[in-house]
Amino acid sequence: SLTFQQQTTNTVEEPLDLIRLSLDERIYVKMRNDRELRGRLHAYDQHLNMILGDVEETVTTIEIDEETYEEIYKSTKRNIPMLFVRGDGVVLVAPPLRVG
């Protein structure tokens, strides 16, 4: 059943319960294909399909400098007000990283 419809138990019994603790909080989601999302978790299900509000998506690409052959990390960001995310793209879910 959908999480916000269940009687909420206070105990943490399985890994998905840890995600339940983050409902309505801002979270960090690492996705496949070098993508990251930061947004407010409104809902999730057992597949890790999620609804995130106020989302910032970061896509990171690596470019190789033709002369020096060094790896240049570039990231592209965009904002989406409300997003449904299909669970099979999700790698991990965590509280927002406090990185500079």
């Binding site: 809902a43 399909n49 997003l83 449904f84 299909r86």
Partner: protein
């Protein structure tokens, strides 16, 4: 309110967030695909497996080239994101979809009609 004719699909939908996407029927949204292409159009239907049918679509391929399509079918596996329009009340949409499923399931009342989850026989 359209509900799947399949018991299996109703049960799958009822127990996952796909039910919200089913409630977007008739809305204009953007579906972003796994391969970085995107389809913006009106949602015709979404099934329990997240297969999406869209109409009046502007399809932008991975390279940015756009084309217009009357109809588009996207396999559930190929969905990465679905943009939810700002004016959608998520909780209300889900509750409405659940009510539609329950109306179909409990049609006919307690002692009439075919039962979706039969009472245990002792």
């Amino acid at each position: 309110m359209e509900v799947s004719h399949s018991v299996k699909e109703r049960t799958i939908a009822e127990n996952s967030l796909v039910i919200l996407l089913q409630g977007l029927r008739g809305r204009v949204t953007t579906v972003e695909l796994r391969d970085e292409s995107a389809a913006a159009g009106r949602v015709t239907s979404v099934d329990a497996f997240m297969n999406v049918r869209l109409a009046e679509v502007t399809f932008t391929d991975r390279r940015g080239a756009a084309c217009r399509l009357d109809e588009l079918f996207v396999t559930g596996r190929n969905v990465r994101y679905v943009h939810i329009p700002d004016d959608v009340d998520i909780r209300a949409t889900i509750e409405e979809q659940l009510r539609a499923i329950h109306r179909v399931r409990y049609f006919g009342g307690r002692d009439k009609g075919r039962r979706e989850f039969p009472r245990a026989k002792h």
